[in-house]
């Protein structure tokens, strides 16, 4: 009640005129020379990440003669939105892949990524995620992928072995049937596009075309995927966390309420913190028509309006070096975005091989602007997948996507 959006919008409008350099601003930001003072805004996953990035930034500042201030954001989307509107954004900031197209399409981001040394070393799927209109905008910071997490205790209890870990949809159905016969909920599955979307990719479909220009939601591949997931849910071979009285699949899995779940590498930290006794292993996701998983990533965005872009690029260069990324991986458990760091990473964390391998065939988030509300609508539909006609759900997705993309 106290924070009225109207007032917030109005204040933004005021800030835009009062604080900017007048009504007619020059299009290209003037570049300052000499040592730069960079402002870096990060969406930190917690204290370890904040400390690690601050240390790395301080080291870079010391060796390069520039100044860096790293600030962890409370709500980075809101803070960035307001900063862009006010015309005074931070120089460097995290950009979530699912929001990348929104920022890029309004010209807020500097397309600098090809100036980073050896840009082809980044995983191709991550490059695609941060490419728009043929321009590779920003360097991927790190990434996560989805994998099949198996509870070893429940697996053994059902008389299953390593060879029974499903590699295809058919095997998944079969092994889930055996688990269900033992009275174990086979699969805890998140009820959003960020999990069920993996089945779409495995079936060979996706919500938009690779360039993010066309809606491809209403396809036979996607229908096949949704019908498969729907059959798993209907036959009680899979359950949404809500049905297992959990807030997310990791909680249901950690409590031993399900033998399998589909989650990303963040589940390691969560299980270690909340359910340290559980024994589990991560495997690559079973394939449908092809192999598929989803990737989640951030990039180091540089503001198009930054007055010190050269220094900002040098900063990102230092942050995305393979050795630096390995340090981050050890400090707060993320996977390096450079292929050259892959071997070092799998050597250090052999249990994560399934996650890293996913990078080869992973699909990034929808790469198109104004899709946030469309995808929220899709999630609302997926939550009621068993009660709905998948065909109607996809038709609705198609219609909304087309209208958002202005087709």
């Amino acid at each position: 009640m106290k924070l009225h959006p109207l007032a917030a919008l109005a204040a933004t409008a005021l800030a835009a005129t009062a604080c900017g350099s007048g009504f007619e601003e020059p299009e290209a930001a003037p570049q300052s020379s000499g040592p730069a003072s960079l402002r870096v805004l990060i969406a930190s996953s917690g204290d370890p990440e904040t400390a690690a990035v601050k240390d790395a930034a301080a080291a870079w500042a010391g060796s390069s003669g520039n100044q860096v201030t790293v600030t962890p954001a409370q709500d980075i989307h809101q803070q960035l939105g307001q900063a862009f509107a006010g015309g005074n954004p931070p120089d460097v900031f995290y950009v979530d892949a699912s929001r990348f197209a929104d920022y890029a399409s309004v010209g807020a981001l500097e397309p600098y990524a090809d100036k980073i040394s050896d840009p082809d070393d980044f995983y191709p799927s991550l490059r695609t995620t941060f490419t728009r209109d043929g321009k590779f905008y920003c360097a991927p910071k790190d990434f996560s992928t989805l994998a099949l997490i198996v509870n070893e205790g429940l697996w053994k209890k059902a008389g299953l072995g390593e060879a029974d870990v499903p590699k295809t949809w058919d095997e998944l159905t079969a092994v889930a049937g055996r688990l269900k016969a033992e009275g174990i909920t086979p699969l805890a599955l998140g009820d959003t596009r960020d999990r069920i979307g993996a089945f779409m990719v495995q079936a060979g479909g996706w919500i938009t075309s690779p360039d993010g220009k066309r809606a491809t939601g209403d396809s036979p591949e996607n229908l096949k995927a949704l019908e498969y997931v729907r059959s798993l849910l209907k036959d009680k071979l899979a359950a949404y966390p809500k049905q297992l009285s959990a807030s997310w699949p990791g909680e249901a899995f950690g409590k031993g309420k399900a033998a399998m779940t589909i989650e990303g590498n963040w589940i390691k930290g969560a299980l270690k913190a909340d359910y340290p006794d559980i024994r589990y292993k991560a495997y690559e996701l079973p394939q449908g028509a092809e192999q598929g998983t989803l990737s989640f990533t951030n990039c180091w965005g540089i503001a198009a309006k930054s007055p010190s872009k050269t220094a900002a690029v040098a900063f990102v260069e230092a942050m995305t070096k393979a050795e630096q990324q390995m340090t981050f991986a050890k400090e707060f458990g993320v996977m390096p975005s450079r292929q050259s760091a892959k071997d070092a990473y799998t050597k250090e964390f052999p249990a994560d091989t399934a996650f890293v391998n996913g990078a080869a065939y992973a699909q990034g988030p929808v790469n198109a602007p104004k899709m946030d509300s469309v995808l929220a609508d899709l999630d609302a539909g997926l939550q009621q997948l068993t009660a709905q006609d998948p065909k109607a759900l996809l038709a609705r997705l198609q219609k909304n996507t087309q209208s958002a993309l202005g087709e």
Binding site: L3, A10, E24, S373
Partner: protein, 343 residues
């Protein structure tokens, strides 16, 4: 100015009085103008454009779209309209439940606290008022724990052998639940208005929304209790005594003496309640962000999301202005109703 009549010569010094008056008022006029009127006018301009949030919305090159942002909310068959109408539906149920409930509760509490029979009145007064002075964000977070899947409420219900709903992930409408219908009758599902079927319009608030309603009623009734209390203490004791002498019972005195005397306060409480509930934002932002299945989406939150998440500042401000219009119209309507009843 009005005092100056035609034909009469203006008194000497009158003009100077006017200037002095304006000079004294100037700081307030300037502050209100700069921080209230100007931003509103700027926002109004933004609502007529498709400004994307980059740089100033007042320079050339920002596309002007006229009333498109407004007409889109009502006429075009797309997601924007559907979201807007869903948010209106949610908020209508929210207002329709919260306003009467908090008013009745506030009045009840005020009567209790005002009663001469109650011991430790000042303790109860502070206790009932306490939720109102606590930060709404802090209260929201506490309620998240209470209504959580293994929260206090679930434990309490479990103690009595009742399995409560998963409050914040249950998107079913309570009207649907109460009537026990899962599949919509075709007559309702196939027809509708503004992109929502009658079935969707008639869902009632969702279970998740009910949790938020409970929270808001709990926090705001304290403030309104204070207003009722002040009004109750203003009622002359002689009036009540006179009514007693005339042989009016306790109920009659309340109905024919107390309530009519409270009418101005009632109007105030209802109006403030109406405005506050239509603008509900922080609880939604903290607790649900519109989830589950958009059943806690409200126009205020939708406006924020459209502007700051989708970078569609024009549509976002347009929603704000429609909301403003709804509130003004409802307040006028309410004033009219209350005046008619008085006459």
């Amino acid at each position: 100015m009005r005092r100056r009549r035609a034909g009469l010569p203006a008194r000497r010094g009158h003009l100077r009085d006017d200037v002095t008056g304006w000079l004294f008022a100037a700081p307030v006029v300037v502050i209100l103008g700069v921080f209230l009127l100007l931003p509103i006018l700027m926002a109004m301009w933004v609502s007529l454009t498709s400004w994307n949030g980059q740089g100033s919305p007042f320079k050339g090159g920002v596309p002007f779209v006229g009333l498109d942002n407004y007409s889109r909310l009502f006429t075009r068959d797309d997601l924007a309209r559907q979201d807007f109408m869903t948010s209106i539906r949610n908020n209508v149920y929210y207002v329709a439940i919260v306003v009467p409930l908090q008013t009745v509760l506030a009045l009840g509490l005020a009567l209790v606290v005002n009663s001469r029979l109650l011991k430790g009145r000042s303790f109860f007064r502070s206790a009932f008022f306490f939720p109102s002075v606590t930060s709404s964000v802090a209260v929201s977070v506490v309620f998240l724990f209470i209504f959580g899947n293994s929260g206090a409420l679930a434990q309490l219900l479990g103690f009595f052998g009742v399995k409560g709903p998963e409050w914040f992930s249950d998107s079913r409408g309570v009207l649907h639940l109460l009537l026990g219908v899962d599949t919509p009758p075709a007559a309702l599902a196939d027809h509708g208005v503004f992109g929502l079927s009658w079935w969707e319009w008639l869902s009632g608030p969702s279970v998740a929304m009910c949790a938020i309603i409970a929270l808001v009623v709990w926090t705001t009734s304290g403030t309104f209790m204070l207003m009722f209390l002040a009004a109750l203490q203003d009622i002359p004791v002689t009036l009540e005594e006179a009514a007693m002498l005339d042989g009016a019972g306790r109920r009659q005195r309340f109905r024919y003496v107390t309530l009519p005397m409270l009418r101005p306060t009632m109007f105030l409480v209802l109006t403030l309640g109406l405005i506050g509930t239509w603008q509900v934002f922080d609880q939604i932002y903290v607790m649900s962000q519109g989830a589950p299945a958009k059943t806690t989406l409200t126009p205020a939150f939708l406006s924020y999301r459209t502007a700051f998440r989708d970078f569609d500042y024009g549509a976002g401000t347009a929603i704000s202005f429609v909301l403003f219009l709804i509130i003004v119209l409802l307040t006028l309507f309410q004033r009219r109703v209350m005046r008619e009843r008085r006459g």
